[in-house]
Symmetry: C2
Amino acid sequence: MLKVGYLGPKGTFSYEAVLKYTKNMECFSAIDYSTIEDILLAVQNDEIHEAVVPMENSIEGAINATMDMIATEVDLTITGELVIPVQQNLLAKEGAELSNIRYVLSHPQPIGQCRKFLNNKLPGAQVRVTYSTAGAAEEVAAGGNELAAIGSETAAEVYGLNVLARGIQDKDNNFTRFVILSKGICARTGDDKTSIVFSTENKPGSLYRILDIFNLWDINMTRIESRPAKRKLGRYIFFVDIKGHQDDEDVRDALTMVKRKSSFYKFLGSYPEYKES
Amino acid sequence: MLKVGYLGPKGTFSYEAVLKYTKNMECFSAIDYSTIEDILLAVQNDEIHEAVVPMENSIEGAINATMDMIATEVDLTITGELVIPVQQNLLAKEGAELSNIRYVLSHPQPIGQCRKFLNNKLPGAQVRVTYSTAGAAEEVAAGGNELAAIGSETAAEVYGLNVLARGIQDKDNNFTRFVILSKGICARTGDDKTSIVFSTENKPGSLYRILDIFNLWDINMTRIESRPAKRKLGRYIFFVDIKGHQDDEDVRDALTMVKRKSSFYKFLGSYPEYKES
């Protein structure tokens, strides 16, 4: 049976990602971990088969823990990606109404994302910070009608809560891209992406010369993200996503050249590009 | 009198940055704020003259709050930069020794940075999370000999604590680069950096074409960092630092071209490059 690790507890957006990913699977086991590091090490150590971890969010940006781990701490490849809309909701117990709510519980991030709703609809309510949105939902489920949590619809289902208000976040366009990481590789589908990470020599124009390779081979770069090399301020490693599969002739040739021109290089996987179905 | 805002309370690494920045000033007033957003808005609204805010750390990477604010929320320019070594220390009251310590207080980030020390030297001590390192120091100063805080040397001075152990972080090479932001501009010194932020058109190779401009003008790019454009997953804005001043002829010509080739462009300042003195 396929064992898939995710950032728990049940009811998080990572859990929604796992449900979406395993939708057509007959047999799997979803195992929750409390940190991204723990999930990826569990795959590395063969305790589980795959990890579903967040890679970037359309508002918050890159997920540093995921990037730092896959660059240097584990030897896993990306075998898929999927996108989850992040929609926050006000959750309360059966019978509770908006006028009952005196306390709103959630993680600091969703609280920050729902400022306008809280100011307009619950100006008198007191905000209490919790360790996770799922933890907030659990606490509300165990408490009285004066409590509400901010969290996902899945959290409402998992903890038996009602959705008092739907989509209460200030900004729309809030999506998180998750990646599937494992020790496997993916065959070419014809509509693939490839991810790599590299660092350049410490001299002027060295990043430009690498990007020039993609230009020469007419390869479309869809993302570039930098992270500190952690040795010295001002030295970086670069995460690049390109269109195509490592078995495509031009991608293979370009990557060979990038490898030759970089001081550190790691292939992170070729995988089917996510399409909303 | 110059009013400088920083991320407080007294004793934080931001406070150390302010002390370093104002070292040779005769007259200034350092005002503490609790978020980066608040500091920058205070400069924007003319409540204070300058902000000293973190821009990147050699281990943790870019400081998103600073980048997002200066890109779109305020209209300020960078007029200087400085680098502070991040050294964590174990702080306790006069008379307390390592063998007395039962509780270690700090912000989650420094606790994570000092795992090895805590496991080796204080295996029996209980870790308690606080809102800031300075808050931990304040609590220790008000408590007994069984308490210790993890924090800066400045925090020890501010709260009258002893340094029980110095430089207890797992990794060396931990530095934070701060920038000074104001409504002013800096004259050319001959050893300057220039920062800009831009977004590209949504078509293949558009980032490459912008970096190509710097290559054509023989301009050295020292940093590139992306942040989400916040409209759609997969759309980014790019922060670029280059060597030179906007009054240098080739920098001016290159920036004119970058502006023409980008869908969004903002000049963030030309300022003297930081040199360790």
